[in-house]
Protein backbone atom coordinates (compact mmCIF):
# COMPACT_ATOMS: atom_id res chain seq x y z
CA UNK A 1 0.00 0.00 0.00
CA UNK A 2 1.36 3.39 -0.88
CA UNK A 3 2.00 5.84 1.95
CA UNK A 4 -0.41 8.38 0.53
CA UNK A 5 -3.20 5.84 0.22
CA UNK A 6 -2.60 4.68 3.79
CA UNK A 7 -2.78 8.23 5.15
CA UNK A 8 -5.95 8.93 3.17
CA UNK A 9 -7.61 5.76 4.40
CA UNK A 10 -6.66 6.43 8.02
CA UNK A 11 -7.90 10.02 7.75
CA UNK A 12 -11.25 8.88 6.39
CA UNK A 13 -11.52 6.21 9.04
CA UNK A 14 -10.82 8.77 11.76
CA UNK A 15 -13.44 11.16 10.37
CA UNK A 16 -15.98 8.35 10.09
CA UNK A 17 -15.39 7.22 13.68
CA UNK A 18 -15.55 10.83 14.88
CA UNK A 19 -18.97 11.19 13.24
CA UNK A 20 -20.18 7.98 14.86
CA UNK A 21 -19.11 9.18 18.31
CA UNK A 22 -21.24 12.28 17.77
CA UNK A 23 -24.30 10.11 17.26
CA UNK A 24 -23.88 8.02 20.43
CA UNK A 25 -25.24 9.14 23.76
CA UNK A 26 -27.64 8.26 26.52
CA UNK A 27 -30.11 10.91 25.37
CA UNK A 28 -30.95 8.82 22.29
CA UNK A 29 -31.37 11.71 19.89
CA UNK A 30 -32.00 10.61 16.30
CA UNK A 31 -29.02 11.00 13.93
CA UNK A 32 -30.84 13.54 11.73
CA UNK A 33 -31.82 15.71 14.72
CA UNK A 34 -28.31 15.38 16.12
CA UNK A 35 -26.61 16.68 13.01
CA UNK A 36 -29.20 19.39 12.36
CA UNK A 37 -28.97 20.68 15.93
CA UNK A 38 -25.20 20.56 15.86
CA UNK A 39 -24.97 22.58 12.67
CA UNK A 40 -27.91 24.97 12.67
CA UNK A 41 -29.56 24.76 16.10
CA UNK A 42 -30.10 28.16 17.74
CA UNK A 43 -29.62 29.13 21.37
CA UNK A 44 -33.01 27.85 22.46
CA UNK A 45 -32.47 24.44 20.86
CA UNK A 46 -31.88 22.04 23.72
CA UNK A 47 -30.41 19.37 21.46
CA UNK A 48 -27.85 21.92 20.28
CA UNK A 49 -26.57 22.24 23.86
CA UNK A 50 -26.22 18.47 24.13
CA UNK A 51 -24.45 18.23 20.77
CA UNK A 52 -22.18 21.24 21.11
CA UNK A 53 -21.33 21.21 24.80
CA UNK A 54 -21.31 17.49 25.59
CA UNK A 55 -20.79 15.36 22.48
CA UNK A 56 -18.63 17.66 20.36
CA UNK A 57 -15.97 18.22 23.04
CA UNK A 58 -15.91 14.47 23.75
CA UNK A 59 -15.39 13.74 20.08
CA UNK A 60 -12.64 16.33 19.77
CA UNK A 61 -11.12 15.01 23.00
CA UNK A 62 -10.96 11.49 21.54
CA UNK A 63 -9.38 12.86 18.39
CA UNK A 64 -6.61 14.88 20.05
CA UNK A 65 -5.91 12.32 22.78
CA UNK A 66 -5.52 9.65 20.09
CA UNK A 67 -3.28 11.82 17.91
CA UNK A 68 -1.07 12.67 20.88
CA UNK A 69 -0.71 9.10 22.11
CA UNK A 70 -0.06 7.76 18.61
CA UNK A 71 2.52 10.33 17.60
CA UNK A 72 4.33 10.27 20.96
CA UNK A 73 4.48 6.46 20.92
CA UNK A 74 5.91 6.45 17.40
CA UNK A 75 8.45 9.14 18.25
CA UNK A 76 9.63 7.33 21.39
CA UNK A 77 9.99 4.04 19.57
CA UNK A 78 11.85 5.76 16.74
CA UNK A 79 14.18 7.71 18.97
CA UNK A 80 14.96 4.89 21.40
CA UNK A 81 14.92 2.33 18.56
CA UNK A 82 12.91 0.12 20.84
CA UNK A 83 9.50 -1.28 19.85
CA UNK A 84 8.52 -1.59 23.52
CA UNK A 85 8.84 2.12 24.25
CA UNK A 86 5.56 3.87 24.98
CA UNK A 87 4.59 6.84 27.21
CA UNK A 88 2.43 4.72 29.52
CA UNK A 89 4.95 1.91 30.02
CA UNK A 90 7.88 4.28 30.47
CA UNK A 91 6.13 6.14 33.27
CA UNK A 92 5.84 9.40 31.33
CA UNK A 93 2.02 9.38 31.52
CA UNK A 94 2.01 8.27 35.15
CA UNK A 95 4.34 11.09 36.16
CA UNK A 96 2.20 13.55 34.21
CA UNK A 97 -0.84 12.36 36.19
CA UNK A 98 1.06 12.91 39.43
CA UNK A 99 1.88 16.48 38.38
CA UNK A 100 -1.76 17.11 37.52
CA UNK A 101 -3.08 15.63 40.76
CA UNK A 102 -0.64 17.70 42.82
CA UNK A 103 -1.74 21.05 41.39
CA UNK A 104 -5.42 20.08 41.48
CA UNK A 105 -5.37 18.98 45.12
CA UNK A 106 -3.23 21.88 46.28
CA UNK A 107 -5.73 24.29 44.76
CA UNK A 108 -3.09 25.83 42.48
CA UNK A 109 -5.02 24.80 39.36
CA UNK A 110 -8.08 26.58 40.71
CA UNK A 111 -6.21 29.85 41.05
CA UNK A 112 -4.34 29.64 37.76
CA UNK A 113 -5.83 27.44 35.05
CA UNK A 114 -2.67 26.89 33.05
CA UNK A 115 -1.01 25.39 36.13
CA UNK A 116 -2.81 22.12 35.34
CA UNK A 117 -1.34 21.35 31.90
CA UNK A 118 1.98 22.87 32.89
CA UNK A 119 2.36 20.70 35.99
CA UNK A 120 1.40 17.59 34.03
CA UNK A 121 3.93 18.49 31.34
CA UNK A 122 6.53 19.07 34.07
CA UNK A 123 5.89 15.58 35.43
CA UNK A 124 6.14 14.07 31.95
CA UNK A 125 9.35 15.98 31.29
CA UNK A 126 11.02 14.67 34.45
CA UNK A 127 10.08 11.10 33.58
CA UNK A 128 11.31 11.49 30.00
CA UNK A 129 14.67 12.77 31.25
CA UNK A 130 15.01 9.86 33.69
CA UNK A 131 14.20 7.39 30.90
CA UNK A 132 16.77 9.01 28.65
CA UNK A 133 19.45 8.71 31.32
CA UNK A 134 18.60 5.03 31.77
CA UNK A 135 18.68 4.35 28.05
CA UNK A 136 22.06 6.10 27.83
CA UNK A 137 23.53 3.76 30.47
CA UNK A 138 22.14 0.50 29.21
CA UNK A 139 21.89 -0.88 25.69
CA UNK A 140 19.32 -3.45 26.76
CA UNK A 141 15.80 -2.58 25.72
CA UNK A 142 14.35 -4.61 28.58
CA UNK A 143 16.31 -2.61 31.15
CA UNK A 144 14.60 0.50 29.84
CA UNK A 145 11.17 -1.06 30.13
CA UNK A 146 11.90 -2.29 33.66
CA UNK A 147 13.00 1.20 34.65
CA UNK A 148 9.73 2.46 33.17
CA UNK A 149 7.76 -0.07 35.19
CA UNK A 150 9.49 1.11 38.36
CA UNK A 151 8.83 4.76 37.55
CA UNK A 152 5.16 4.05 36.70
CA UNK A 153 4.71 2.19 39.96
CA UNK A 154 6.27 5.01 41.95
CA UNK A 155 4.23 7.72 40.22
CA UNK A 156 1.07 5.66 40.62
CA UNK A 157 1.73 5.07 44.31
CA UNK A 158 2.37 8.74 45.06
CA UNK A 159 -0.71 9.72 43.04
CA UNK A 160 -2.80 7.30 45.11
CA UNK A 161 -1.27 8.67 48.29
CA UNK A 162 -2.10 12.26 47.38
CA UNK A 163 -5.67 11.33 46.47
CA UNK A 164 -6.09 9.29 49.65
CA UNK A 165 -4.87 12.15 51.80
CA UNK A 166 -7.05 14.70 50.03
CA UNK A 167 -9.62 16.45 52.21
CA UNK A 168 -12.07 15.82 49.40
CA UNK A 169 -14.16 12.69 50.08
CA UNK A 170 -14.54 11.96 46.36
CA UNK A 171 -10.85 12.22 45.45
CA UNK A 172 -9.81 8.71 46.51
CA UNK A 173 -12.45 7.05 44.36
CA UNK A 174 -10.99 8.86 41.37
CA UNK A 175 -7.68 7.02 41.52
CA UNK A 176 -9.12 4.81 38.78
CA UNK A 177 -9.62 7.77 36.45
CA UNK A 178 -6.01 8.83 36.84
CA UNK A 179 -4.73 5.26 36.29
CA UNK A 180 -7.05 4.24 33.46
CA UNK A 181 -8.21 7.38 31.69
CA UNK A 182 -11.61 8.47 30.43
CA UNK A 183 -13.20 11.00 28.11
CA UNK A 184 -16.49 11.15 30.01
CA UNK A 185 -17.92 14.64 30.52
CA UNK A 186 -14.90 16.37 29.02
CA UNK A 187 -15.71 20.02 28.29
CA UNK A 188 -14.48 22.73 25.96
CA UNK A 189 -12.93 24.53 28.91
CA UNK A 190 -10.63 21.58 29.57
CA UNK A 191 -9.84 21.11 25.89
CA UNK A 192 -9.01 24.78 25.54
CA UNK A 193 -6.48 24.53 28.35
CA UNK A 194 -4.72 21.49 26.95
CA UNK A 195 -4.97 21.84 23.19
CA UNK A 196 -2.30 24.53 22.61
CA UNK A 197 0.26 22.39 24.44
CA UNK A 198 -0.72 19.28 22.49
CA UNK A 199 -0.40 21.05 19.16
CA UNK A 200 2.99 22.44 20.18
CA UNK A 201 4.07 18.90 21.07
CA UNK A 202 2.91 17.51 17.73
CA UNK A 203 4.80 20.22 15.83
CA UNK A 204 8.00 19.53 17.78
CA UNK A 205 7.74 15.82 17.05
CA UNK A 206 6.96 16.29 13.37
CA UNK A 207 9.98 18.59 13.12
CA UNK A 208 12.06 15.59 14.18
CA UNK A 209 10.82 13.23 11.47
CA UNK A 210 13.79 13.46 9.05
CA UNK A 211 16.29 13.11 11.86
CA UNK A 212 14.41 10.06 13.13
CA UNK A 213 14.71 8.49 9.66
CA UNK A 214 18.44 9.11 9.68
CA UNK A 215 18.74 7.78 13.23
CA UNK A 216 17.30 4.43 12.17
CA UNK A 217 20.69 3.85 10.47
CA UNK A 218 22.48 4.27 13.80
CA UNK A 219 23.79 7.25 15.74
CA UNK A 220 27.10 7.51 13.91
CA UNK A 221 25.51 7.28 10.49
CA UNK A 222 22.92 9.89 11.52
CA UNK A 223 25.64 12.24 12.74
CA UNK A 224 27.46 11.64 9.44
CA UNK A 225 24.29 12.67 7.59
CA UNK A 226 24.37 15.97 9.45
CA UNK A 227 21.77 15.23 12.11
CA UNK A 228 22.22 17.30 15.24
CA UNK A 229 21.68 14.57 17.85
CA UNK A 230 21.45 16.96 20.76
CA UNK A 231 18.73 18.97 19.01
CA UNK A 232 16.87 15.79 18.08
CA UNK A 233 16.89 14.64 21.70
CA UNK A 234 15.49 17.99 22.80
CA UNK A 235 12.73 17.88 20.16
CA UNK A 236 11.64 14.36 21.15
CA UNK A 237 11.70 15.01 24.90
CA UNK A 238 9.87 18.33 24.74
CA UNK A 239 7.43 17.08 22.09
CA UNK A 240 6.51 13.94 24.03
CA UNK A 241 6.28 15.78 27.35
CA UNK A 242 4.03 18.51 25.93
CA UNK A 243 1.62 16.20 24.13
CA UNK A 244 1.48 13.47 26.78
CA UNK A 245 1.38 15.91 29.69
CA UNK A 246 -1.52 17.83 28.17
CA UNK A 247 -3.41 14.62 27.33
CA UNK A 248 -3.00 13.20 30.81
CA UNK A 249 -4.10 16.44 32.46
CA UNK A 250 -7.54 16.15 30.89
CA UNK A 251 -8.05 12.43 30.25
CA UNK A 252 -5.88 10.58 32.77
CA UNK A 253 -3.38 7.85 31.89
CA UNK A 254 -4.39 5.91 28.79
CA UNK A 255 -1.79 3.20 28.45
CA UNK A 256 -0.80 0.93 25.56
CA UNK A 257 -2.26 3.08 22.74
CA UNK A 258 1.21 4.44 21.99
CA UNK A 259 2.51 0.87 21.86
CA UNK A 260 -0.18 -0.73 19.74
CA UNK A 261 -0.63 1.87 17.02
CA UNK A 262 2.98 2.22 15.77
CA UNK A 263 3.35 -1.54 15.94
CA UNK A 264 0.32 -2.12 13.69
CA UNK A 265 1.36 0.53 11.18
CA UNK A 266 5.16 0.11 11.06
CA UNK A 267 5.25 -2.37 8.19
CA UNK A 268 2.65 -0.45 6.22
CA UNK A 269 4.92 2.62 6.10
CA UNK A 270 7.97 0.59 5.13
CA UNK A 271 9.54 0.84 8.56
CA UNK A 272 10.43 4.53 8.20
CA UNK A 273 10.15 6.23 11.60
CA UNK A 274 9.46 9.64 10.05
CA UNK A 275 6.49 8.44 8.06
CA UNK A 276 5.27 6.44 11.02
CA UNK A 277 4.64 9.68 12.94
CA UNK A 278 1.75 10.92 10.80
CA UNK A 279 0.36 7.44 10.26
CA UNK A 280 0.43 6.78 14.02
CA UNK A 281 -1.18 10.12 14.78
CA UNK A 282 -4.15 9.21 12.59
CA UNK A 283 -4.11 5.59 13.71
CA UNK A 284 -4.10 6.70 17.36
CA UNK A 285 -7.11 8.90 16.71
CA UNK A 286 -8.92 5.94 15.12
CA UNK A 287 -8.05 3.62 18.00
CA UNK A 288 -9.10 6.01 20.79
CA UNK A 289 -12.32 7.03 19.02
CA UNK A 290 -13.20 3.39 18.39
CA UNK A 291 -12.43 2.53 22.01
CA UNK A 292 -14.54 5.41 23.26
CA UNK A 293 -17.42 4.19 21.09
CA UNK A 294 -16.94 0.70 22.52
CA UNK A 295 -16.96 1.78 26.17
CA UNK A 296 -20.13 3.78 25.61
CA UNK A 297 -21.90 0.93 23.85
CA UNK A 298 -20.84 -1.68 26.39
CA UNK A 299 -21.70 0.35 29.49
CA UNK A 300 -23.67 3.48 28.59
CA UNK A 301 -24.24 4.58 32.19
CA UNK A 302 -21.04 3.44 33.82
CA UNK A 303 -18.06 5.49 32.54
CA UNK A 304 -16.05 2.38 31.72
CA UNK A 305 -12.44 3.56 31.51
CA UNK A 306 -10.55 3.72 28.22
CA UNK A 307 -7.48 2.15 29.79
CA UNK A 308 -9.42 -1.02 30.58
CA UNK A 309 -10.07 -1.69 26.91
CA UNK A 310 -6.62 -0.49 25.85
CA UNK A 311 -4.92 -2.88 28.28
CA UNK A 312 -6.98 -5.78 26.96
CA UNK A 313 -5.69 -5.08 23.47
CA UNK A 314 -2.26 -3.82 24.42
CA UNK A 315 -1.09 -6.19 27.15
CA UNK A 316 -1.17 -9.36 25.00
CA UNK A 317 0.68 -7.50 22.25
CA UNK A 318 3.20 -6.27 24.78
CA UNK A 319 3.81 -9.82 26.01
CA UNK A 320 4.26 -10.95 22.44
CA UNK A 321 6.83 -8.19 21.84
CA UNK A 322 8.70 -9.03 25.04
CA UNK A 323 8.78 -12.65 23.93
CA UNK A 324 10.30 -11.68 20.59
CA UNK A 325 12.76 -9.21 22.11
CA UNK A 326 13.88 -11.80 24.63
CA UNK A 327 14.60 -14.26 21.84
CA UNK A 328 16.60 -11.71 19.87
CA UNK A 329 18.70 -10.70 22.85
CA UNK A 330 19.36 -14.29 23.79
Amino acid sequence: MSYRLLITLLAFLAIGLALITLLIGPAGISPATSIASLLIGDRTDIFAIVMREIRLPRMLGGLVVGISLGVAGAAMQGYLRNPLAEPGLLGVSGSAALGAVLVLQSGLAGMFGLALPMAAIGGALLAAIVMLLVSGRSRSSLALILAGVALSALAGAVTSLVLNLSPNPFAASEIMFWMMGSLANISFDQLGLALPFMVAGWLLLFAARRSLDALSLGEDAAAGLGVNLRQLRLLVILGCAASIGAVTAIAGVVGFAGLVVPHLLRRLVGGEPGRLLLASALGGACLILATDIAVRLVAPDRDLKLGVVMAMIGAPLFLHLVWQTGRQEA
Binding site: A27, I46, E53, I54, N168, F170, N185
Partner: protein, 289 residues
Protein backbone atom coordinates in the same frame (compact mmCIF):
# COMPACT_ATOMS: atom_id res chain seq x y z
CA UNK B 1 -63.24 11.38 105.62
CA UNK B 2 -63.64 12.24 102.04
CA UNK B 3 -60.53 14.43 102.11
CA UNK B 4 -58.53 11.56 103.48
CA UNK B 5 -59.76 9.27 100.70
CA UNK B 6 -58.79 11.82 98.13
CA UNK B 7 -55.33 12.21 99.55
CA UNK B 8 -54.86 8.44 99.61
CA UNK B 9 -56.10 8.12 96.03
CA UNK B 10 -53.78 10.88 94.89
CA UNK B 11 -50.86 9.32 96.66
CA UNK B 12 -51.58 5.96 95.05
CA UNK B 13 -52.02 7.55 91.63
CA UNK B 14 -48.78 9.44 92.06
CA UNK B 15 -47.02 6.29 93.16
CA UNK B 16 -48.39 4.35 90.22
CA UNK B 17 -47.29 7.10 87.86
CA UNK B 18 -43.82 7.16 89.35
CA UNK B 19 -43.56 3.39 89.11
CA UNK B 20 -44.53 3.53 85.48
CA UNK B 21 -42.23 6.42 84.71
CA UNK B 22 -39.36 5.29 86.88
CA UNK B 23 -38.16 2.32 84.82
CA UNK B 24 -37.77 4.60 81.80
CA UNK B 25 -35.69 7.01 83.85
CA UNK B 26 -33.73 4.31 85.61
CA UNK B 27 -33.15 2.44 82.36
CA UNK B 28 -31.98 5.53 80.50
CA UNK B 29 -28.43 5.06 79.26
CA UNK B 30 -25.82 7.07 81.09
CA UNK B 31 -22.88 6.92 78.68
CA UNK B 32 -24.02 7.36 75.09
CA UNK B 33 -21.69 7.50 72.08
CA UNK B 34 -22.87 8.60 68.63
CA UNK B 35 -20.85 7.51 65.57
CA UNK B 36 -22.82 9.09 62.73
CA UNK B 37 -23.21 12.69 61.60
CA UNK B 38 -27.00 12.55 61.69
CA UNK B 39 -27.36 10.72 64.99
CA UNK B 40 -24.76 13.13 66.43
CA UNK B 41 -27.00 16.09 65.81
CA UNK B 42 -30.18 14.51 67.11
CA UNK B 43 -28.35 13.23 70.18
CA UNK B 44 -26.85 16.67 70.90
CA UNK B 45 -30.33 18.18 70.62
CA UNK B 46 -31.98 15.67 72.94
CA UNK B 47 -29.44 14.23 75.39
CA UNK B 48 -29.42 15.23 79.03
CA UNK B 49 -26.40 16.83 80.68
CA UNK B 50 -23.37 14.50 80.61
CA UNK B 51 -25.44 11.73 79.02
CA UNK B 52 -23.74 12.00 75.62
CA UNK B 53 -20.01 11.38 75.94
CA UNK B 54 -18.79 11.47 72.35
CA UNK B 55 -19.91 12.43 68.83
CA UNK B 56 -18.34 11.65 65.45
CA UNK B 57 -15.61 13.91 64.06
CA UNK B 58 -17.93 14.94 61.22
CA UNK B 59 -20.19 16.71 63.72
CA UNK B 60 -17.53 19.44 63.90
CA UNK B 61 -17.30 19.91 60.11
CA UNK B 62 -19.22 23.11 59.31
CA UNK B 63 -19.66 22.02 55.70
CA UNK B 64 -21.95 19.11 56.57
CA UNK B 65 -22.92 19.64 60.20
CA UNK B 66 -25.51 22.19 61.22
CA UNK B 67 -24.22 21.98 64.79
CA UNK B 68 -20.48 22.32 64.23
CA UNK B 69 -20.09 24.92 66.98
CA UNK B 70 -22.07 22.97 69.55
CA UNK B 71 -20.07 19.84 68.69
CA UNK B 72 -16.92 21.56 69.91
CA UNK B 73 -18.24 20.86 73.40
CA UNK B 74 -18.02 17.06 72.99
CA UNK B 75 -15.02 14.79 72.47
CA UNK B 76 -15.06 13.33 68.94
CA UNK B 77 -14.60 9.75 67.75
CA UNK B 78 -13.63 8.32 64.35
CA UNK B 79 -15.89 5.27 64.42
CA UNK B 80 -13.08 2.85 65.32
CA UNK B 81 -14.22 -0.09 67.48
CA UNK B 82 -11.23 0.23 69.77
CA UNK B 83 -11.74 3.88 70.72
CA UNK B 84 -15.49 3.39 71.12
CA UNK B 85 -15.02 0.38 73.41
CA UNK B 86 -12.52 2.21 75.60
CA UNK B 87 -15.14 4.91 76.21
CA UNK B 88 -17.17 2.19 77.97
CA UNK B 89 -20.54 3.30 76.59
CA UNK B 90 -23.80 1.67 77.63
CA UNK B 91 -25.36 2.70 74.33
CA UNK B 92 -23.85 3.35 70.91
CA UNK B 93 -26.09 5.10 68.38
CA UNK B 94 -25.18 5.14 64.73
CA UNK B 95 -26.57 5.27 61.22
CA UNK B 96 -28.09 2.22 59.62
CA UNK B 97 -25.28 1.79 57.14
CA UNK B 98 -22.30 3.37 58.85
CA UNK B 99 -19.20 1.41 59.88
CA UNK B 100 -20.80 -2.07 59.80
CA UNK B 101 -17.61 -3.75 60.95
CA UNK B 102 -17.40 -1.54 64.02
CA UNK B 103 -21.07 -2.22 64.77
CA UNK B 104 -20.56 -5.97 64.59
CA UNK B 105 -17.44 -5.86 66.73
CA UNK B 106 -19.09 -3.73 69.42
CA UNK B 107 -22.07 -6.09 69.45
CA UNK B 108 -19.74 -9.02 70.04
CA UNK B 109 -18.15 -7.14 72.93
CA UNK B 110 -21.59 -6.90 74.51
CA UNK B 111 -22.26 -3.24 73.88
CA UNK B 112 -25.79 -2.20 72.92
CA UNK B 113 -25.75 -0.67 69.42
CA UNK B 114 -28.84 1.05 68.02
CA UNK B 115 -29.11 2.05 64.37
CA UNK B 116 -31.13 4.98 63.13
CA UNK B 117 -32.48 4.66 59.57
CA UNK B 118 -31.98 7.42 57.00
CA UNK B 119 -34.95 9.79 56.90
CA UNK B 120 -36.37 9.87 53.38
CA UNK B 121 -39.19 12.28 54.16
CA UNK B 122 -40.53 14.49 56.93
CA UNK B 123 -42.57 11.71 58.53
CA UNK B 124 -39.52 9.46 58.80
CA UNK B 125 -37.59 12.38 60.22
CA UNK B 126 -40.26 12.91 62.90
CA UNK B 127 -40.24 9.23 63.81
CA UNK B 128 -36.42 9.30 63.98
CA UNK B 129 -36.58 12.15 66.46
CA UNK B 130 -39.11 10.24 68.59
CA UNK B 131 -36.95 7.13 68.35
CA UNK B 132 -33.88 9.05 69.49
CA UNK B 133 -35.89 10.44 72.41
CA UNK B 134 -36.95 6.91 73.37
CA UNK B 135 -33.39 5.54 73.22
CA UNK B 136 -32.07 8.37 75.36
CA UNK B 137 -34.98 8.08 77.79
CA UNK B 138 -36.03 11.64 76.97
CA UNK B 139 -39.36 11.38 75.13
CA UNK B 140 -40.60 14.72 76.51
CA UNK B 141 -37.62 16.57 75.05
CA UNK B 142 -38.25 14.86 71.72
CA UNK B 143 -41.91 15.92 71.78
CA UNK B 144 -40.92 19.50 72.62
CA UNK B 145 -38.35 19.56 69.79
CA UNK B 146 -40.97 18.31 67.35
CA UNK B 147 -43.50 20.87 68.53
CA UNK B 148 -41.00 23.68 67.93
CA UNK B 149 -40.26 22.24 64.49
CA UNK B 150 -43.94 22.12 63.52
CA UNK B 151 -44.36 25.73 64.65
CA UNK B 152 -41.36 26.85 62.57
CA UNK B 153 -42.75 24.96 59.61
CA UNK B 154 -46.09 26.74 59.98
CA UNK B 155 -44.33 30.14 60.11
CA UNK B 156 -42.43 29.30 56.94
CA UNK B 157 -45.60 28.23 55.17
CA UNK B 158 -47.36 31.41 56.19
CA UNK B 159 -44.45 33.52 54.95
CA UNK B 160 -44.36 31.84 51.56
CA UNK B 161 -47.81 30.82 50.37
CA UNK B 162 -48.23 28.19 47.70
CA UNK B 163 -47.05 29.73 44.42
CA UNK B 164 -49.15 29.52 41.28
CA UNK B 165 -46.21 28.42 39.21
CA UNK B 166 -43.80 25.96 40.72
CA UNK B 167 -40.39 26.15 39.02
CA UNK B 168 -38.87 22.77 38.19
CA UNK B 169 -35.61 21.99 39.95
CA UNK B 170 -33.06 19.22 39.66
CA UNK B 171 -31.04 18.29 42.74
CA UNK B 172 -27.78 17.31 41.10
CA UNK B 173 -24.91 16.33 43.35
CA UNK B 174 -21.32 15.24 42.81
CA UNK B 175 -20.84 12.50 40.18
CA UNK B 176 -24.19 13.45 38.64
CA UNK B 177 -26.14 11.90 41.51
CA UNK B 178 -29.73 13.08 41.26
CA UNK B 179 -32.11 13.00 44.22
CA UNK B 180 -35.18 10.95 43.42
CA UNK B 181 -38.74 11.28 44.66
CA UNK B 182 -38.03 9.04 47.60
CA UNK B 183 -35.63 11.38 49.39
CA UNK B 184 -35.69 14.00 52.10
CA UNK B 185 -34.33 16.54 49.60
CA UNK B 186 -37.41 15.95 47.47
CA UNK B 187 -39.72 16.72 50.40
CA UNK B 188 -37.76 19.86 51.15
CA UNK B 189 -37.77 21.37 47.68
CA UNK B 190 -41.49 20.73 47.43
CA UNK B 191 -41.96 22.50 50.76
CA UNK B 192 -40.01 25.40 49.27
CA UNK B 193 -42.43 25.67 46.36
CA UNK B 194 -40.34 23.89 43.76
CA UNK B 195 -41.08 20.74 41.82
CA UNK B 196 -38.51 17.94 41.62
CA UNK B 197 -37.67 17.12 38.02
CA UNK B 198 -36.97 13.54 39.13
CA UNK B 199 -40.75 13.05 39.27
CA UNK B 200 -41.04 13.84 35.55
CA UNK B 201 -38.17 11.48 34.82
CA UNK B 202 -39.79 8.77 36.93
CA UNK B 203 -36.80 8.49 39.26
CA UNK B 204 -38.12 6.90 42.47
CA UNK B 205 -34.72 6.58 44.09
CA UNK B 206 -31.68 8.76 43.91
CA UNK B 207 -29.37 7.68 41.12
CA UNK B 208 -26.74 8.85 38.66
CA UNK B 209 -28.21 10.80 35.78
CA UNK B 210 -25.94 11.58 32.86
CA UNK B 211 -25.36 15.11 31.68
CA UNK B 212 -27.26 14.66 28.42
CA UNK B 213 -30.50 13.61 30.08
CA UNK B 214 -30.16 16.37 32.66
CA UNK B 215 -29.97 18.98 29.89
CA UNK B 216 -32.84 17.44 27.95
CA UNK B 217 -35.04 17.52 31.06
CA UNK B 218 -34.81 21.35 30.87
CA UNK B 219 -34.76 22.15 34.60
CA UNK B 220 -35.40 25.77 35.60
CA UNK B 221 -32.86 25.37 38.34
CA UNK B 222 -30.07 22.87 39.02
CA UNK B 223 -29.34 22.75 42.73
CA UNK B 224 -25.81 21.51 43.32
CA UNK B 225 -23.72 20.62 46.34
CA UNK B 226 -21.24 22.84 48.04
CA UNK B 227 -17.66 21.90 47.25
CA UNK B 228 -15.27 20.22 49.65
CA UNK B 229 -11.66 21.32 49.95
CA UNK B 230 -9.18 19.77 47.54
CA UNK B 231 -10.50 18.80 44.14
CA UNK B 232 -12.49 16.01 42.50
CA UNK B 233 -13.80 15.24 39.05
CA UNK B 234 -17.06 14.33 40.76
CA UNK B 235 -17.60 17.95 41.79
CA UNK B 236 -15.90 19.47 38.74
CA UNK B 237 -18.84 18.09 36.76
CA UNK B 238 -20.88 21.04 38.10
CA UNK B 239 -18.57 23.42 36.23
CA UNK B 240 -19.31 21.72 32.93
CA UNK B 241 -20.81 24.28 30.61
CA UNK B 242 -23.83 22.11 29.94
CA UNK B 243 -24.71 22.22 33.67
CA UNK B 244 -24.08 25.95 33.79
CA UNK B 245 -26.35 26.49 30.80
CA UNK B 246 -29.03 24.35 32.43
CA UNK B 247 -29.18 26.84 35.33
CA UNK B 248 -26.75 25.69 38.00
CA UNK B 249 -27.02 27.19 41.46
CA UNK B 250 -25.53 26.19 44.78
CA UNK B 251 -28.69 27.32 46.56
CA UNK B 252 -28.45 25.55 49.88
CA UNK B 253 -25.76 25.15 52.46
CA UNK B 254 -25.37 21.36 52.69
CA UNK B 255 -25.14 21.40 56.48
CA UNK B 256 -28.86 22.12 56.59
CA UNK B 257 -30.15 19.19 54.57
CA UNK B 258 -27.53 16.48 54.84
CA UNK B 259 -29.42 15.06 57.81
CA UNK B 260 -33.05 14.89 58.87
CA UNK B 261 -32.91 17.26 61.83
CA UNK B 262 -35.12 20.27 62.63
CA UNK B 263 -32.40 22.40 60.98
CA UNK B 264 -33.90 21.47 57.61
CA UNK B 265 -36.13 24.50 58.19
CA UNK B 266 -33.11 26.58 57.23
CA UNK B 267 -32.64 24.56 54.02
CA UNK B 268 -36.27 25.11 53.06
CA UNK B 269 -35.88 28.85 53.67
CA UNK B 270 -32.78 29.00 51.46
CA UNK B 271 -34.50 26.99 48.73
CA UNK B 272 -37.53 29.23 48.90
CA UNK B 273 -35.25 32.27 48.52
CA UNK B 274 -33.69 30.70 45.41
CA UNK B 275 -37.16 30.04 44.06
CA UNK B 276 -38.22 33.67 44.63
CA UNK B 277 -35.07 34.92 42.84
CA UNK B 278 -35.92 32.70 39.89
CA UNK B 279 -39.56 33.77 39.74
CA UNK B 280 -38.61 37.46 40.01
CA UNK B 281 -36.03 37.11 37.24
CA UNK B 282 -38.66 35.48 35.06
CA UNK B 283 -41.20 38.21 35.72
CA UNK B 284 -38.60 40.82 34.85
CA UNK B 285 -37.76 39.00 31.63
CA UNK B 286 -41.45 38.80 30.76
CA UNK B 287 -41.93 42.49 31.49
CA UNK B 288 -38.88 43.23 29.32
CA UNK B 289 -40.54 41.51 26.40
Amino acid sequence: MRGKWWRAMRAIALLAFMMLAAPAQAGAPLRVVSMNLCTDQLAMLLAGPDQLISVSFLARDPLVSSMAEEAAGWPVNYGQAEEIYLLQPDLVITGFWSAPLTQRLLNRLGIRVERLPIARNLEEMRSNIRQMGAWLGRPDEAAALLARFEADLELLRAEDPEPLQRPRAAIYAANGYMSGMNSLSDSLIRLAGLNNIAAELGLQHSQVLDLERLVLARPDLVITDQKYAGWSRAEALMEHRAVQLAGQESAVRDQYWTCGTPHIIQAVAELAAAKRRLVTARQLAQAGK
